[in-house]
């Protein structure tokens, strides 16, 4: 272990769904991962291998059944609901596989939603959201609700939302699986840009186009990590 703490670290992490019940699922088995600051880490593996579960745990929206999770060397496994919400608010940006945008809410408001409880005024919220959406090529779509946007556009709205709190770690679950190849390339460019800005990126994918940019690739199979490097 080096003196510089990792951005995110999992040690001996397990996730067992329905533990002790008939439908018990071992989604993650003894996972050890260390994510360096400013790196792009890729998690790959077939469907059902545990990618979503693992990025969920690293994004603090899921709790491990066993094992420890560290953020910048500090163990956060047992953190309270309030403390974990604080980490998500200040440190992390999450992009979900199915986008999880609020239906009926204009794109800019979706992007700015995380700023509401931070007391940011509507004018300022809109300004920041429009700026982000424009940078992602969605200037003409800021007032459209998700229902009126294509998959690729929704994906970029979701990315803008993940960036609105200026996080230093961005976690994306299969960012290119629900969009066409052309848009996927655009997303790749966005990710490269973020990496240049020094953000730590963690993404799950089975799209090998993304591997080229990766500093680290982890392969999952049946909840077991097959090896890093």
């Amino acid at each position: 272990m080096t003196g510089v703490p990792y951005m995110m670290e999992c040690r001996g992490v397990w996730k067992i769904y329905n533990e002790g019940r008939p439908h018990e699922v071992r989604a993650l088995v003894d996972i050890n991962i260390a994510v360096r600051k400013g790196s792009l880490t890729v998690l790959t593996g077939p469907s059902g291998s545990g990618k979503t579960t693992l990025v969920g745990i690293m994004g603090t929206i899921e709790r491990p059944s066993r094992g420890r999770v560290y953020l910048e060397g500090r163990e956060i496994t047992g953190f309270s609901d309030v403390a974990l919400s604080m980490i998500r608010r200040e440190r992390t940006g999450l992009v979900f596989q199915n986008f999880n945008l609020l239906p009926g809410v204009p794109a800019w408001e979706n992007v700015a939603y995380p700023l509401i409880p931070q007391g940011v005024r509507e004018g300022e919220r809109r300004r920041r959201a429009v700026e982000l959406l424009s940078a992602l090529g969605l200037a003409a779509r800021v007032d459209h609700p998700p229902e009126e946007l294509s998959g690729g556009e929704q994906q970029r709205v979701a990315i803008a939302r993940a960036l609105v709190n200026d996080p230093d770690m961005i976690i994306l679950d299969e960012p290119t699986s629900n969009i066409d190849a052309g848009t996927a390339l655009q997303v790749l460019e966005i990710l490269k840009g973020l990496k240049r800005e020094g953000k730590t990126l963690i993404l799950s994918t089975h799209d090998s186009d993304l591997f080229g940019e990766a500093d680290e690739i982890y392969r999952l199979k049946g909840g077991v990590l097959e090896g890093g490097g």
Partner: protein, 388 residues
């Protein structure tokens, strides 16, 4: 600023989730409307009753007749008037009377007293052989000023087993114009006529005594001294009976209403769970993007306040329409005796702030129980679980 943001977001959510908002508000109205309307009518009737008591005499004197209120000799009015502090003692005849199968109240007063009531009357005060009747009665019987009405019958003789009936016909000199609840079925005649209708020569139903302020006690005592069989009812006592009577009626309504609520509450709980799975997902999204549980709850709390305010205000508005435009259709009969589905007079109503505040609180409690707990449950589980 944060609180304001949450409040504005709550307002936007209420608008965005139109269907849910609509359904919950309809439920609230269904629950609150009967309550607001009934209490308004009850308060209105009570107010009129108390008003009519306070406008009336200070003391009423009758005689004990085997434990009931009995007739009192008419000359006692003169005796009572001599007591110090008494300004006026008016003999009255008051009784129920059937007119063409319809129950009415007959009131006989001295001609001089009748003149004072002219203000309310369309036409003129009754002279001898004349009467003034209530608007409700006039409308029901198709009568108008100048028409005539038979009051009381009497058998004058029986010849060959057949009764000879004499019917007294009175000319209608006027109709009570104020469509008030107390005058609606009233038949007002000169006291002499009333006495002869009931064949109670020398007696009246009671004597209304008006007293100078401060003399109520001494006058009551003096009246009792004249005859220990006099029964004396003071205004204060009448007001108290009136209040109690209304509170009992109110109590009956409240218990019926509470039973109805017992049925309504599970309904609204089910309905506010309406759209809960979307809600669950949304709460998950908010938590995943850095909202605190407390902030989510605060926003939901504001949503409920907005919905409760809208629901209670709409219920109040509709209740106002029900009473003022629909004249308490179907509901007035609960509080006003002898009124059918449609009241023949303007149903009195008084909208006081208390029932409105109560219904707002009730609306809030209903919407809160439906949403706060489930929202809280959702927001304390890991967001990934809530979003699934």
């Amino acid at each position: 600023m944060k609180t304001l943001n949450l409040l504005l977001t709550a307002a936007a959510n209420v608008m965005r989730q139109r269907l849910r908002t609509f359904v919950v508000i309809i439920c609230l109205i269904v629950i609150l409307l009967p309550f607001l309307t009934a209490t308004a009518i009850q308060e209105g009737v009570k107010e009129q009753a108390l008003l009519s008591v306070s406008e009336g005499a200070d003391v009423y004197v009758t005689m004990d007749m085997y434990g009931r209120n009995g007739m009192i000799p008419v000359e006692m009015a003169g005796e009572i008037e001599k007591i110090e502090g008494v300004t006026k003692a008016v003999p009255r005849v008051i009784s129920r009377i059937y007119i063409e199968g319809r129950l009415a109240v007959l009131l006989g007063l001295p001609l001089a007293e009748l003149e004072e009531k002219v203000g309310f009357i369309k036409g003129s005060a009754p002279g001898e052989g004349e009467t003034v009747i209530g608007r409700g009665l006039a409308d029901a019987l198709g009568l108008d000023v100048g028409g005539s009405i038979g009051l009381g019958v009497r058998v004058t003789a029986i010849v060959d087993h057949r009764p000879y009936i004499e019917r007294r016909i009175y000319r209608i000199s006027g109709i009570f114009d104020s469509a008030g609840i107390w005058t609606s079925d009233l038949v007002l005649v000169d006291i002499e006529d009333a006495i002869s209708i009931y064949e109670m020569e020398g007696f009246v139903s009671d004597i209304a005594v008006y007293v100078r302020p401060g003399y109520e006690r001494s006058v009551t005592e003096e009246i009792q001294k004249i005859n220990s069989y006099f029964r004396i009812q003071t205004k204060a006592l009448a007001e108290r009976y009136m209040e109690q009577g209304f509170n009992r009626k109110g109590g009956v309504f409240v218990s019926l209403y509470v039973m109805a609520l017992g049925l309504a509450i599970p309904t609204i709980l089910v309905l506010s769970g309406f759209g809960l799975s979307e809600r669950r997902r949304e709460v998950g999204i908010l938590k995943a993007t850095g909202w605190q549980t407390q902030e989510v709850l605060e926003m939901v709390f504001f949503e409920n306040i907005i919905i409760a305010v809208i629901g209670a205000s709409l219920a109040l508005l509709l209740s106002y329409i029900w009473v003022r435009v629909l004249n308490g259709l179907l509901i007035a009969q609960i509080f006003i005796a002898e009124v059918g589905n449609v009241a023949p007079f303007k149903v009195p109503a008084l909208f006081t702030p208390m029932p409105f505040v109560l219904s707002f609180i009730l609306a809030l409690v209903l919407t809160m129980t439906g949403s706060i707990y489930s929202t809280w449950r959702t927001s304390i589980v890991p967001p990934a679980e809530a979003m699934r």
